[in-house]
Each structure stands twice: as structure tokens, then as C-alpha cells.
Symmetry: C2
Subunit: 321 residues, 2 copies
């Protein structure tokens, strides 16, 4: 059975990697069994990555695809201020194990995924395998946060300040280069190919109770900030000149480009936030306002005092070609 061989291969590759003491039973039974620390609630997030929608095999080396798929889930755990524990991989691949779909690609994909998992002490604890018309990888990440203390999207209050970590628009700038058929080297330091989930920043904010609301920047600032506004029933105004635009990118991509996997959060005006948390820059970019018409909940403050609505142009991944 091909499926069986592939599962054995995954178990073998996963074996030298992280084992979490909270995983009672990993790959190899009908379910995985996890133990939560006392006083903790479970966090669960799922992210579906589809070939030619979320990645392209000709653009993204296999380890980058594995890394990016898992980074999406870890970033969701970060956005709750949580601690990741275990991940699960459901992998569909074309004509499974046949010469037309080489094993080295699957090995590279798993290596990228497992290396990132290891760096956060996350264990690959289960999953499923199927053939599929193209590569699909659904990744579940489970984690925990202190009971009733996870940071939701719904806690922002008028007067709160709005912050982002790191710099924005870097991933989208690389995507534009790829779409323009430019060659881009997939270096380990590239936020497009190897984004770094901000787990430590999220935990730092959670422990100190400083953030009133938080989300990760997966769809782009304009869309993700609108989620906070919707769930918190508030509005927001941001100053474009304060937005930390990534090197080689531009303001428009910082506002609307996705997949930076930085954190966007709000904190009371009185909160004193350091310039860096866990080595990552933190920048104040705006203020939460009163609720209003949510279709134009986000305003851009111009330098001359002008006010414009920020459209939610959103990030619909790259279109099939």
C-alpha cells in the first residue's frame, strides 16, 4: 500500500524531531491523545494550503512550502498569546508515490515543516494521507492558553492604541516579483519563503495582560484590522507615515499585502510598550475610535489633517494562471 509506505516515511522523518511531554499518544492510533496543563484551555486552528493558490511548486522550494503551511497555524496560536503543542498534517499529493511525483519533494516539504515545528517544541502528532489532483496540505495546530486569558479579536476599546510587530509588505513585495517572472532567491531570512510566527511576542503580551485585542497579519493590514473593528464593534484610524514598511516594499503593499504573519494588536493608551518585544520591533500606528459604519471603519489620517476611508482590498492569494 502506497499510503502505508508514505505514513511510515513520515513517522521515520518525524522521529528525531520534537516530542512534547503533553502528547500522550502521537501518530499510530485512531486519535492522538494530548494532556493539557492544569488551568489551561485548548486552542485549535486549521489552515488549508492548496497548490497554485497558496504556493507554486516552481516558485517555492519544498521546504519553504512545508514551513509556510505550518507558519500559518503557529501564527494563529501566537495571535491568541498561546503556546503551541502539537500539529497535524493532512496531505494530498498527486498520483501518490509514483515517479511523476517525486519522494524528494515530499521529504523536503516535511523537512521544512518539521524544522519549524522543532524550533517551537511542537510535535507532529497525527494526520492523514490521500492522493489528490494537486498538492493540498491542511495543517492543524493545537496549543493552550490560561483559562479565559487568550487574547481575542473582540476586546479593543475606543482610545486604545494600535500596534504592529516587525515590518509589513515584505512578503507581498516578493510575491509581486514572482508574479513578474523575476527570479527570487528563497533564502532562510526571507519573510516570504520562511515567515517567522511571533509566538514569543504573543506570549509576552498575554502574560502581562497588555493587549486588549490581537490578530495575525495573514490577509493584510486593511482586512485584518477590519476584523478587529468588526469583532470589537469599534472603528480605527491609522497614520500611514507611522507604518513600518519592509525594505524593498511600499506603503500600498504594507496596507493591503498579506502573509507577513506579524501581529496586529491594541493596548490601552496608558500601557507602556517597549520598542522591542522578544527582539521584534513594535510600532504604534494608530488609534481605536467609536463604533460607526463598519463598511468604512478604518480611516487613514493624511499629513495635512485629511481623512480618507481605507478600502479593504484584501488578499485573495494569487490567482491561478
Amino acid at each position: 500500500m502506497r499510503e502505508r509506505r508514505l505514513i511510515e516515511r513520515i513517522r521515520k522523518l518525524a522521529k528525531p524531531h520534537a516530542a512534547s511531554s503533553l502528547v500522550v499518544q502521537g501518530i499510530g492510533d485512531d486519535c492522538a491523545i494530548l494532556q493539557l496543563p492544569p488551568g489551561r484551555q485548548l486552542l485549535v486552528t486549521t489552515d488549508l494550503c492548496v497548490e497554485n493558490v497558496h504556493f507554486r511548486r516552481k516558485w517555492h522550494p519544498a521546504p519553504s512550502v512545508g514551513h509556510r503551511c505550518l507558519a500559518r497555524g503557529l501564527s494563529d496560536i501566537a495571535a491568541m498569546g498561546g503556546t503551541p503543542v502539537a500539529c497535524f498534517l493532512s496531505l494530498g499529493i498527486p498520483t501518490m508515490g509514483s515517479p511523476t511525483f517525486p519522494q524528494p519533494w515530499v521529504d523536503g516539504f516535511l523537512r521544512g515543516l518539521l524544522d519549524l515545528a522543532q524550533s517551537f517544541h511542537v510535535q507532529l502528532a497525527g494526520g492523514d494521507i490521500s492522493s489528490a489532483a494537486e498538492v493540498v496540505a491542511d495543517i492543524v495546530v493545537t496549543g493552550h492558553a490560561p483559562a479565559s486569558k487568550a487574547i481575542l479579536r473582540s476586546g479593543a476599546r475606543p482610545g486604545d492604541r494600535i500596534y504592529v510587530t516587525g515590518s509589513l509588505g515584505g512578503s507581498a513585495a516578493v510575491l509581486h516579483q514572482l508574479l513578474a517572472a523575476k527570479r527570487v532567491r528563497a533564502t532562510r531570512s526571507s519573510t516570504h519563503f520562511y515567515p517567522q510566527p511571533r509566538i514569543q511576542v504573543g506570549q509576552w503580551l498575554q502574560k502581562r495582560g497588555l493587549a486588549t485585542a490581537m490578530i495575525d497579519l495573514s490577509d493584510g493590514l486593511s482586512v485584518d484590522l477590519s476584523h478587529i473593528c468588526e469583532e470589537s464593534r469599534v472603528s480605527a484610524s491609522i497614520s500611514p507615515k507611522k507604518i513600518p514598511v519592509a525594505e524593498g516594499s511600499r506603503l500600498e503593499l504594507a496596507l493591503h499585502g498579506g502573509e507577513d504573519y506579524e501581529l496586529l494588536f491594541t493596548a490601552p493608551k496608558s500601557a507602556r510598550l517597549p520598542a522591542h518585544i522578544a527582539g521584534v520591533a513594535v510600532t504604534e500606528i494608530g488609534t481605536i475610535g467609536n463604533p460607526q459604519n463598519y463598511s468604512s471603519a478604518i480611516q487613514i489620517l493624511g499629513e495635512n489633517g485629511s481623512i480618507q476611508s481605507l478600502p479593504q482590498q484584501g488578499w485573495e492569494h494569487f490567482k491561478r494562471r
Copy 2:
């Protein structure tokens, strides 16, 4: 954004359905948040369903596809003796929301999934959406079992008796009819179109500590019994004439056909098992033996005292056509 519209649609359809008191935060934040009852461990299972591998849209009505996808995960929870709590759906659909892929199919799929979820008080607590070349649905089910009391595959001991619930081969018999281009009505009572996960049977066995090992029959008796033999490091012998063959099916399909989603379990010789548990027939079919060569771990006992090895013909789903 089409993705957004579809997510709103899913939230709307899910709203009147089951809400679990253990789900603290459902659809609508970066992660779902779940609370486990004290003294319980978390169970997690993922099942990837791919169009033309696990179902065909021309054969399986949309509600049957949704039901079957979730039934796989619930059956894994049943096989641990666990209680399901919440499910998560990652759904990839062709040319999302376009006229070529009608909304009624998605609505029907969700109705089938949500109706089954509701019948077990399981809440749809999150998921993800993407376009994809064909329909893919990865379903995660989370549940719980008393700490260290979930029923594993690894506890079978020589001398234990082997039992199955219900009858076997019924789903494969329908599949053979479909493959032969026969018309089959997708009635609610069909185990192929609407399999019933044996949650109550699993819980009954777990509470009484009667089962030493358990697995659900998803791949077929010959393959799934070999998993128990491998994980428990034992062998098994079964009597074909004792196997409860489903009406309209035959012994070969009962031995090797998959997707019956009945439970296969072992219990000490001294255990007294009723003929029915939670209304489902329970049949003794064989005995666990000493470890030996695992490549022929399962023996078939002939009526004349003959002994044959049972090949693991397995269930590789139906091939693409």
C-alpha cells in the same frame, strides 16, 4: 471576497445547530478555544476526503458526502471510547462560489455534516476555506476521554477474544454496485451513504473497562485487525463462519471491504459481553494469539480444522477513472 461570503454562509447554516458548552470560542477568531472537563485528556483526529478518491459527486448526494466526511472522524473518537466535542472543516472547492460550482452543493454538504454533528452534540467550531481543483474536505474532530483510559490499539493480549459490532461488508457491496454502474438509492438507512459512528458502543466499553484494544473498521477487517496485531505485538485467528456479513454482501467484502465504521475490539476471555450494546449487535469472531511473524499475523480457521493466512488486501479507496 468570495471566501468571506462562504464563511458567512457556513456561520449562518451552523448557527441553529449544536452548541457545546465546552466550546468557549467558536468560528470567528484566530483559534477556537475549548475547555476540557477536569480529569480528561484531549482526543484529536483528522480525516482528509478528496473528490474521486473518497466520494464522487455523481454517486454521492451532497448531504451524504458531508455526513461521510464527518462520520470518519467521529468513528475514530468512538474507537478510543471517547466523547466528541467539536469539529473543524477545511474545505477546498473548485472556482469558489462561481456558477460552475453551485452553492446548493455546498449547502447540502454542510447540511449533511451539521445534521450528523448535531446528533452527537458536536459543534462546528472552526475551519478554513480555499479554492481547489476538486472538492477536498479535511475534517478534524476533537473529543475527550478519562485520563489514561482511552482504548488504544496496543492493549490486546494472547487469549483475548475478538469482537465486531454490527455487520460487515455492506458499504463495499454498495461500492461494487456503483462501480458496476448500477443505480443505488442513497437512503438514510444505507451504511454506505450514511454510516453511523458507534460512539455509544465505544463509551459503553470504555466506562466498563472491558476492551483491551479497539480500532474502527475503516480500511477493512483484514487491514484493521493487522493494525491491532502490530501495535499489540500479537497474532490473531478468526473464524469466517462467525463473521456477521451484511445483508446483500459476501464474506470476501466483509473481510476486505472498508468504510463500514463498525468497531473491532478485543476483551479478556473472562469478560461477559452482552449480545447487543447500545442497540448494536456484538459478535465474537476469533481469538488473539502469541506474537509471531507479523506478515502473516492473522489466520483464518477453516471448518475442517485447516489454517490459512489472511492476506491484508486493504482498502485503497476507489481508483480514479
